[in-house]
């Protein structure tokens, strides 16, 4: 394959790379006054990347000797990453201007992080995978600590870093054994090699998987590898929290799914059990602990631990047979819904924080009076996370649980836990709603929203509503996007 067509297939990544470098240069070159426009430049870069992805739609091939794959699955998650970042950038302008002296680096970092996400989802080889993963992690560490004068931000960053470094090192150690067992780092080749005659090597695959899961689980923030996330989420600047809770998490899922499906597909019965157990612990722990959180970001951290569990249900109960409710479809569907819903919530949190400087849940009392727009939309997103009809969240949960029920007793157990904990989740989501609507709250003026959060919130709400009313297009998109290159029959 010639270089040109390879580059064409890498065009989304190239757009972001060039864009990130451009922002970096402009940040150095521009005066302070003009730097304010950097967020628009970043937005433009991201928006430009969307058609780049769209143009590749339907392609399914492996490039650069298998280092990268371009398949619908990767493209879908690239869309998720870009979409998340667009929304995050929409919400971060005012936020950062209030808190950080320099904002240019932030946009560079988040563009790099998006690039890293996209690379991760497209990695077809352990080498590129590890690299992209670390790329994402390193940019995330810095972003979490972006408010470098803020104790919480820095503390969150260092904890995130230390946890991430160890987790990824363990993953790497696992990768080394995988390499040793198969003599290759290419995912497809690994799968082929593991089908070879040596039983003892086949046997090695599972312990290796355990080590890999430490890294993936960290990225996804699924219990018991979740403990960094509440601290990092709370400490991080809220836009970064938003990014971590969606883009980073979904990237982790994409990588997990690709590695497990492509390289370890034969071992599904085993890893499905492990991941299923993780899912159960996540759902219970995340939702129960979230009940007690006084800080909304921290609450959302635990909530997203719980949601990692729900998404995981879809993955562990997936089958390669065509069924109406394929678990993988469910994961993709859930991911998209989760994107808009969760980002919507974080945009609301950002807007509130911009106005009041508080992330304490009790300060949300009387929000309905202060800003009906914000209160109604935040309530709507919370209901979406609860799974109430006419929100995307309902169909996402529906789909995931349906796939679980189809998967026999274990799936039924997962679904039962999921359903039980989603009621628990309603408790703390509703608590916020209660404060906003039922409690008059102390005096406080009307809240004016910035343009960015306003646009972002409206966009997220409209899309969530559209999915909630007519999910068919998204289901179609998701079901075409589960095509993953290199899955051995």
């Amino acid at each position: 394959m010639d270089a040109a067509s390879t580059l064409a297939l890498l065009s989304p990544e190239l757009v972001l790379l060039v864009g990130a470098l451009l922002v970096l240069i402009l940040d150095l070159a521009w005066s302070d006054a003009r730097r304010a426009a950097l967020s628009y430049v970043s937005l433009a870069v991201l928006v430009l990347a969307l058609p780049a992805v769209a143009l590749l739609w339907g392609r399914s091939q492996s490039i650069l000797s298998g280092m990268m794959v371009v398949d619908p699955f990767a493209l879908y998650f690239k869309l998720v990453a870009i979409g998340t970042t667009i929304m995050v950038v929409l919400g971060s302008r005012q936020y950062l201007n209030q808190r950080a002296r320099r904002t240019g680096e932030f946009y560079v970092l988040i563009l790099f992080a998006t690039l890293a996400s996209m690379l991760s989802t497209a990695a077809g080889d352990l080498i590129s995978l590890y690299l992209a993963f670390e790329f994402l992690s390193l940019t995330s560490y810095v972003m979490v600590s972006y408010l470098r004068g803020d104790q919480l931000s820095v503390e969150g960053g260092i904890k995130y870093f230390l946890y991430g470094a160890v987790a990824s090192a363990m993953m790497l150690y696992g990768m080394s054994f995988l390499y040793g067992a198969t003599g290759t780092t290419n995912l497809v080749a690994i799968a082929a090699a593991l089908r070879g005659p040596s039983a003892s090597l086949r046997w090695l695959a599972i312990p290796t998987t355990v080590l890999l899961l430490a890294g993936f689980g960290f990225k996804i923030a699924i219990a018991p590898f979740h403990q960094w996330s509440p601290d990092a989420y709370e400490g991080a600047p809220t836009p970064v929290t938003a990014f971590l809770s969606v883009a980073s998490k979904m990237t982790g899922f994409a990588v997990l799914m690709r590695v497990m499906m492509v390289a370890m597909g034969d071992f599904q019965p085993t890893w499905a059990r492990i991941l299923g157990a993780f899912a159960i612990v996540s759902m219970i722990l995340g939702n129960f602990v979230a009940l007690q959180q006084p800080n909304i970001k921290r609450m959302m951290a635990y909530s997203s631990i719980g949601h990692a569990g729900y998404i995981m249900i879809g993955f562990v109960t997936q089958t390669l047979e065509p069924t109406t409710f394929n678990g993988l479809n469910g994961v993709l569907l859930y991911g998209a819904v989760y994107l808009f819903t969760n980002i919507g919530i974080f945009l609301a949190i950002i807007a509130f924080e911009d106005a009041t400087g508080s992330t304490s849940i009790s300060d949300y009392a009387g929000l309905m009076r202060r800003s009906p727009f914000l209160a109604v939309l935040l309530a709507y997103f919370l209901f979406s996370l609860t799974g109430i009809p006419f929100t995307g969240g309902m169909f996402a949960k529906f789909f995931v649980f349906a796939s679980a029920i189809q998967a026999g007793p274990f799936g039924f157990l997962l679904a039962a836990v999921g359903i039980f904990t989603s009621v628990v989740a309603a408790f703390y989501y509703l608590n916020v709603v209660r404060l906003m609507f039922f409690v008059p709250g102390e005096a406080g003026g009307a809240i004016r929203l910035g343009m960015g959060p306003r646009v972002g919130l409206a966009l997220a709400a409209v899309i969530t509503l559209l999915i909630g009313v007519y999910p068919q297009p998204l289901i179609n998109l998701a079901s075409r996007s589960v095509v993953m290159l290199g899955i051995l029959p």
Binding site: G387, F390, M394, S422, A426, F438, Q472
Partner: protein
């Protein structure tokens, strides 16, 4: 397909809600007019559904079908039969009355109130008209959110607690139902309720899949039992009913509880007839406990609204008893007619309880608006001060205790008639309930409110105003009308229950 009357009756309130949304919040008067007008218009459609339904033909009518989420096999499938028509009518009747009453009493956050109320109506009617599991579920949950806000914003002193309790209970039930629905889907491959009913037991015979099918059965059961509410899942109800604003209580007791009973008959009985039959004794026992327990707890209440709330537990127990007896009698020697009678009684009781308890809650609202207390110990002698109020309460109260000549009697008669033929012991114990009911209606309510020397405090209590009478009179008229001439509604219901009676 024809004229989409069901879509109309379902979504007209939603359109009204949109209209309210677009009106400026300051214009309370217009908002109220639009809301009440919409609900009144919908009553016309509700009447059209009733009158347009061909009783001779029976079965599902006015069916509408459209592809919705074809890849999931989920469709927009609406249709009504003798079970749904009275309940749709009940909904369209109670909503404008409750809204009319609210138009005079709700002064804060007017726009939100009427907006939510109209959405609520769409949700409720949607449940009664949906023939697709997912559609059913969507409407089912849709009713949850507005009621949560109605209780939480406009409710009494413990409104927040009551609202969240209501929400969580119902949500817990509905997610359990979701599991059950998905289980049915997994086995039948369809989300169509009639299709699933036709095929499920053939695919998964109860006799050979007892554990699994029972699990699914109880999952769905839980949702409806909580909504109904059946002892011991009733504890959300006293709080929700007591704390809700008057119109909210009216709709809660009048319609929302019926969603549970309706669910039993629309989904659980047709899809799981054998499982239902198998578990019917246990369910009937719970029903009887509800009846007696609810009535006894009523006797100990001093808060008028809470008392009436508990009376719902007792009265909805009749519904459950009728349904459980009907299920138990399927294919049994007692004959199909007994089953049909029991089910007739259950559905009729739902309708009657709707109008009777709706009226009672309106009356409680009336007295609370004036006296700002609901403590029965503080009243007395009102009979001489507010004769209209006394009269209305008297009629509603006696209707509630099942006095012949008023609507409540027929449903109790049918329920107990059906139950006695099928499960006599339960019926005999249940009859205790009608004695206790008399105790709390006459002793607690009538005596404490109206009898005795007039209390100095209430000498200037104004009697019912004209708009209160307008809100109440239709309900009382129906109590009398169906009390002396229940034939039209029984015939309507009978078309559906006869079909149910031949299930096994």
């Amino acid at each position: 397909m024809g004229f989409p009357i069901l879509s109309l009756v379902t979504f007209v309130p939603l359109a009204g809600a949109l209209a309210v949304l677009l009106l400026p919040a300051g214009n309370a008067r217009t908002i109220k007019q639009v809301a009440v007008g919409t609900a009144a218009l919908n009553l016309v459609f509700g009447i059209l559904v009733w009158t347009g339904y061909d009783r001779a033909a029976g079965g599902l009518q006015f069916q509408e079908f459209a592809r919705w989420i074809p890849s999931m096999g989920v469709h927009y499938h609406m249709g009504v039969d003798g079970l749904s028509v009275p309940l749709i009518f009940l909904t369209t009747l109670l909503t404008p009355l409750a809204l009319l009453y609210s138009a005079y009493t709700i002064q804060t956050r007017v726009k939100e109130f009427f907006l939510l109320f109209l959405i609520l109506e769409t949700g409720m009617i949607g449940v009664f008209a949906a023939l697709d599991f997912v559609l059913f579920y969507v409407f089912w949950e849709l009713g949850l959110v507005p009621m949560y806000f109605l209780i939480g914003i406009w409710g009494g002193s413990r409104r927040e607690y009551a609202a969240i309790k209501f929400f969580l209970y119902t949500l817990a039930g509905s997610v359990a139902m979701l599991l059950g629905i998905l289980f049915v889907y997994t086995n039948t491959g369809t989300f169509s309720i009639p299709e699933a009913a036709a095929t499920f037991e053939a695919i998964r015979p109860f006799a050979s899949n007892m554990t699994v099918v029972s699990l699914a059965f109880w999952g769905i059961f839980l949702a409806f039992a909580i909504k109904l509410p059946l002892w011991p899942f009733h504890t959300w109800l006293p709080d929700a009913h007591t704390e809700a604003p008057t119109a909210g209580s009216v709709i809660l007791a009048g319609v929302l509880l019926k969603l549970g009973g309706y669910g039993f008959l629309r989904i659980l009985l047709p899809v799981f007839p054998s499982a239902f039959k198998y578990w019917a004794p246990l369910i009937a026992a719970l029903a009887v406990i509800s009846i007696v327990y609810g009535a006894l707890v009523c006797i100990a209440q001093w808060d008028l609204k809470r008392l009436i709330a508990y009376s719902s537990v007792s009265h909805m127990g009749y519904v459950m008893l009728g349904i459980a007896a009907g299920a138990y009698g399927l294919g049994a020697a007692s004959g199909q007619d007994s089953v049909a009678i029991a089910l007739n009684g259950a559905v009729l009781q739902m309708f009657n309880h709707g109008i009777i308890t709706g009226a009672l809650f309106l009356l409680v609202g009336v007295i609370y608006e004036r006296a700002h207390t609901r403590d029965l110990r503080e009243f007395g002698g009102l009979g001489a001060i507010v004769p209209y109020f006394y009269g209305f309460m008297l009629v509603a109260g006696f209707a509630s205790l099942g006095l012949p000549g008023l609507a409540g009697f027929w449903s109790e008669l049918f329920v107990f008639r059906g139950a006695l033929a099928i499960m006599p012991i339960y019926a005999v114990v249940g009859v205790l309930g009608i004695v206790f009911t008399a105790v709390y209606i006459l002793w607690k309510i009538m005596q404490n409110l109206f009898l005795g020397q007039p209390n100095e405090r209430w000498l200037n209590l104004p009697d019912l105003t004209s708009w209160e009478i307008v809100s109440l009179a239709p309900l009382l008229a129906f109590m009398f009308f169906f009390g002396v001439y229940p034939t039209p509604i029984v015939e309507l219901i009978n078309t559906a229950t006869t079909a149910l009676a031949s299930l096994l």
